[in-house]
Symmetry: C2
Subunit: 385 residues, 2 copies
Amino acid sequence: MRKVGIIGCGLTRFGEHWGEGFRELAGEAGLAAIGDAGLTGKEIEAIYGGNMSAGRMVGQEHIGALIADQAGLNPIPATRVEAACASGGLAVREAYISVASGLYDCVIAGGIEKMTDISTEQAATTLMGAGDQEWEMFFGATFAALYAMIARRHMHEYGTTEEQLAAVAVKNHEHGSLNEKAHFQNRITMEQALNSPKISDPLKLYDCSPISDGAAALVIASEDFIKRHKKEAVWIAASAQASDTLALHSRKSFTTLAASVEAGRQAFKQAGISVKDVDVAEVHDCFTIAELLALEDLGFAKKGEAGREIAGGRFRLGDSPTINSSGGLKACGHPVGATGVKQVIEVVDQLLCRNGKRQVSGAEVGLTHNVGGSGATCVVHVLRR
Amino acid sequence: MRKVGIIGCGLTRFGEHWGEGFRELAGEAGLAAIGDAGLTGKEIEAIYGGNMSAGRMVGQEHIGALIADQAGLNPIPATRVEAACASGGLAVREAYISVASGLYDCVIAGGIEKMTDISTEQAATTLMGAGDQEWEMFFGATFAALYAMIARRHMHEYGTTEEQLAAVAVKNHEHGSLNEKAHFQNRITMEQALNSPKISDPLKLYDCSPISDGAAALVIASEDFIKRHKKEAVWIAASAQASDTLALHSRKSFTTLAASVEAGRQAFKQAGISVKDVDVAEVHDCFTIAELLALEDLGFAKKGEAGREIAGGRFRLGDSPTINSSGGLKACGHPVGATGVKQVIEVVDQLLCRNGKRQVSGAEVGLTHNVGGSGATCVVHVLRR
């Protein structure tokens, strides 16, 4: 397996895109990434595209071919990968494997979701395809309901409070306010968060990430290619993926995601680092409780203490590590298939010191953590200068 | 890139499965493949699963995690890949890359589709997600209509006749009658084919592959693993993938699939063989005209002559090469995501001389050709004893 780096990033604004369709968003991100790398399409040898549910959201499958077509990159291979909300992370991972293997020298990893062409109710139903259709969705569970059960259990076991959950939202909106690509660029107060409408008790509106449109793309290349073309790169020091049961009810614990623990463990081992070495991380905060689980499962906080730590001011911009400097899924938005790729872009930009108002100074090691469903898939990447 | 072989195959019956659901079919094929390889789940390090449209057909995405869960294989990585009807071929290819790279020693490549839980009309609409949703499906095109245009143009350019198309169906039903896993195990006559109801002129019922349920799985391993475990293997001599425009109207020609030509060219080069070396091949006959295109695009027949050759008795069991000994998509059935994996299983079984009544004697080199949509993706594998 060869050394592999990231040399270009492209990102659309996350939010409600009424003026652009699925293919326009894909093209915008992909072409921006190629441009950022200072390349043309000729150097790109393959495409991996992460997308969860374009079949149900825009009536379109065969996403890989669509992206290659839109970007004028035929006849190179184009492959869609899917693992619900971890689809983007998997696209990065498969692209990494294809270059590390020696098969390709330079590929694109992209992610996209166009979610606002259908109603919120249809979107919520579609998103339940990330959980267990037969044993969760059929009986009426939504994703907010699944994470609400996790939150309630976390409160029961560790004394986590609604205020601590709200503190995650306040922090991530603060970060999002510094990100011109974020779906929500407004700060919120604890009072706003705590007084927002209940979605699924104890989760309120501000505990939930939004339904967003967006696309993200990376150019990933081998060390040889990077040196030959004299490119600046951020290196992929680890890529790890793990699975867990699809349904919550099959798990040993509601308050830890076994796939996060396993993928994190493998990633730290591959990279030869410990959690203390991480300067900046993007973790999967589809709901505020999910950020607490991520921090605990990856070792950024002791089990049961992440809520207290965040409420005490930890993990904000300026602290080390800074968690979800992009605004996270909560404020930056969550176009499902794009999220895992956007996380990597945020960390790459932090490591290359090009994040403007939300730059973490001196960041050298970054981590991304992308979860599918209620934790049935987890992908963790470690990135280094 | 290391040498990689196939050491186990598992296949459900193709057809209408009213008694089993999506996950039961996936489990049946996967566990059969592991059993055929004489392994247990412990040796399996990752899963690649091909599926086109479970989101729309059974309300379930996140297929990789579902398969790992059903087979009790957590926490190993499980990744769904999708390229419409070429999803299965891509699963084989990504599994191949992951082992050839040195990342894994032993993985599963599977494919599945459960299509009969929705109406035929819903299935036809869903399948158009393989084409261009905005510029073909929105205006009412079905896949039969797209291939009918291809057929009509082929007739115009080369004098291909409805009888020649029917001859493809007669041949493939003859092969299917020898395959106990086939959706249709009945022979048909030229008269039956020619007198069957028009679907989209000039294509009739017997020119079309059916809507089927089914699952298929392979165990793929490195040469080291295979030698260490003293397994019999069929070797993957080439794996090639190419893309073309999503919509028919963007192509230079209707009568050749550029992605098939390109993937075929690359595959023959990788394997160091010519088309004349191939003893047995499974090609993508979603419609009878598609088999003619495949034979011509891969070089088994000269451009415009495949129809005459098949009508003259070529490519039947006993001829060299034998084309679609399984019955092809036409008679064996076409559970979309499973098809590309089933093609590989058919060829593996031919090369291992375990195909019973439809065994091709002395087969040493085989090829599989799996197409997505109307040709926007093509995957070709070459297999050897």
